[in-house]
């Protein structure tokens, strides 16, 4: 009996001087595995509004709304209701342009329930995109007009014939 008691004391004293295993969390962090799925990230400019992620999601977490500006789809809403997400990564796999991706951020707690839902698309982003499309369209139109004028100059007869 006494032998076991002394052995026990030896073990605890040995541990006393051993390095400590504690990871002091907010300052120190353990490395996360490569395939870790944390908070999703959305790249607005990459998204082509193909709806693949919406269809891939088993829980219908993603709400995607679009608007057509000048024959081009613009994403006006991309809501990720995270409380229902099961982090399966199917949306990430489905996306052809890598527009949605899971980051390694696992601190998902929020003080208020509405804050859980992530609204990726901000109105100013939509405005910027629309402006970009219009500008591109205008430039294209201008370029086409210039091209047409050039053609007209080179071949006025053809232009007259056409009109």
């Amino acid at each position: 009996m006494a032998k076991g008691l002394i052995k026990g004391l030896g073990i605890t004293l040995n541990r006393f001087f051993k390095p400590k295993v504690t990871v002091q969390y907010p300052e120190e962090r353990l490395p996360l595995p490569d395939r870790f799925y944390g908070r999703p990230e959305f790249y607005y400019d990459k998204c082509i509004a193909c709806n693949m992620c919406v269809n891939a999601c088993p829980n219908r977490v993603i709400k995607l709304e679009t608007e057509t500006v000048d024959k081009k789809k613009v994403v006006t809403k991309y809501d990720f209701d995270q409380q229902y997400c099961l982090f399966c990564g199917l949306c990430q796999e489905a996306c052809p342009k890598d527009a949605i991706k899971f980051s390694k951020d696992f601190e998902l707690t929020r003080y208020h329930r509405p804050d859980i839902k992530i609204e990726f698309v901000k109105p100013e982003m939509v405005e910027r995109k629309k402006a970009e499309i219009k500008k591109a369209a205008a430039e294209k139109a201008a370029a086409e007009a210039a091209k047409a004028r050039e053609q007209e100059e080179q071949n006025p007869a053809a232009g007259k014939e056409g009109s």
């Binding site: 026990g8 004391l9 605890t12 004293l13 541990r15 006393f16 051993k18 295993v21 504690t22």
Partner: protein, 349 residues
């Protein structure tokens, strides 16, 4: 450094005498100051020991322990006590209100009263009583009554069971504790604690009474209700024993009193077995009171080491171990010590 506190006391005495106070008044004021200093020491050391316990337990479990509040987490206990003070004191409807509230008030009394005879260093004893050891044992066992009283007054089955366990355990382990001390008393022939320390100038009694020390150590752990003998507040069995119904500062008082008792048992072990304030290996340049406190804290570390190593024993094992092993062993120790002393005397003289 050696005579720091002694000089402080004599300086205070001469100051009061020069102020024209009569001798009795000077003595009274000085005694009051000494006891006040002891009270401050107990409270600070209780605070420190909670922190030390948490650190020691953490280190023995490969953890770090408290390190956030204050430098190295030193203010953790202060913050905890502050929290407990600010909490509501809940009194159960069916409890005996007066006794219930009296418990935490009185629990600090026995340790404080006993510290009055503890020799903290050379000539550093508040009251040099000629029956110091007897006084220590008599007053220290009073805390049993107070804990039992709180358990009874709570009017809760767990508290009552805990209270009964306190009585059973204390009475069973008081026996070997006292009998293990008798060996030392046979050797010195005195109950005065300063005299006992003076008798250990050449050899500490741990070397003359190893069995006595071992029995004292085990019984001391049981007396302070610490693991592996913490049946009184065995959380998995009876929640928190007699302290179940206490909240806020009431609980904090019991909590701190537990550590005061640990200090007490360690002080006693240092005095009786570890040579008190005598310096080992002739290292006399370190003041005697530092040596004393050093030994006390080594003893306390030993108690903490036990606590974080051993699992709790069962009630019947506890009683069997106390009555069938420790008591016979301590009686045998007295017998051997007596014969040894008789032989020594007949050969020498």
């Amino acid at each position: 450094m050696e005579n720091l506190f002694v000089n402080m006391a004599s300086g205070m005495r001469s100051l009061l005498a020069s102020a024209g106070l009569p001798d009795t008044a000077t003595d009274f004021i000085l005694m009051f100051l000494k006891l006040g200093a002891i009270l401050v020491y107990i409270l600070i050391s209780a605070l420190w020991l909670v922190y030390m316990e948490r650190k020691v337990s953490a280190y023995m479990q490969c953890r770090i322990g408290p390190n956030r509040v204050g430098p190295l987490g030193l203010l953790q206990t202060t913050a905890d006590i502050g929290k407990l003070i600010s909490k509501e004191i809940i009194i159960p409807r069916c409890a005996d209100k007066k006794l219930f509230l009296l418990g935490p008030i009185l629990i600090f009394m026995p340790p404080l009263a006993v510290f009055a005879v503890a020799p903290f260093g050379k000539d550093m004893v508040a009251i040099d009583m000629n029956i110091g050891v007897y006084y220590f044992l008599a007053v220290a066992s009073l805390s049993t009554v107070i804990v039992w009283m709180s358990g009874w007054a709570s009017n809760n089955k767990y508290s009552l069971i805990g209270g009964m366990r306190v009585v059973a355990q204390m009475v069973s382990y008081e026996m070997p504790l006292i009998l293990s001390i008798v060996g030392v008393i046979i050797l010195t022939g005195t109950l005065n604690m300063s005299e006992i320390i003076r008798a250990q100038e050449n050899v500490w009694f741990i070397f003359l009474q190893p069995l006595g020390f071992l029995i004292y150590l085990i019984a001391g752990v049981a007396e302070t209700n610490r693991a592996p003998f913490d049946l009184v507040e065995g959380e998995s069995e009876i929640i928190c024993g007699p302290f179940t119904e206490y909240s806020g500062m009431g609980f904090a008082m019991f909590f701190l009193a537990e550590y005061a008792n640990v200090v007490l048992v360690s002080v006693m072990a240092t005095t009786l077995f570890l040579g008190g304030w005598h310096a080992p290996f002739g290292l006399t340049f370190i003041p005697s009171w530092i040596w004393f406190l050093l030994k006390v804290y080594v003893m306390i570390f030993l108690f903490m080491w036990f606590r974080w190593t051993y699992p709790r024993v069962r009630v019947d094992q506890l009683m069997e171990f106390g009555w069938k092993v420790l008591v016979p062993l301590s009686i045998a120790n007295i017998f051997v010590t007596g014969i040894g002393k008789y032989l020594y005397q007949t050969i020498r003289w």
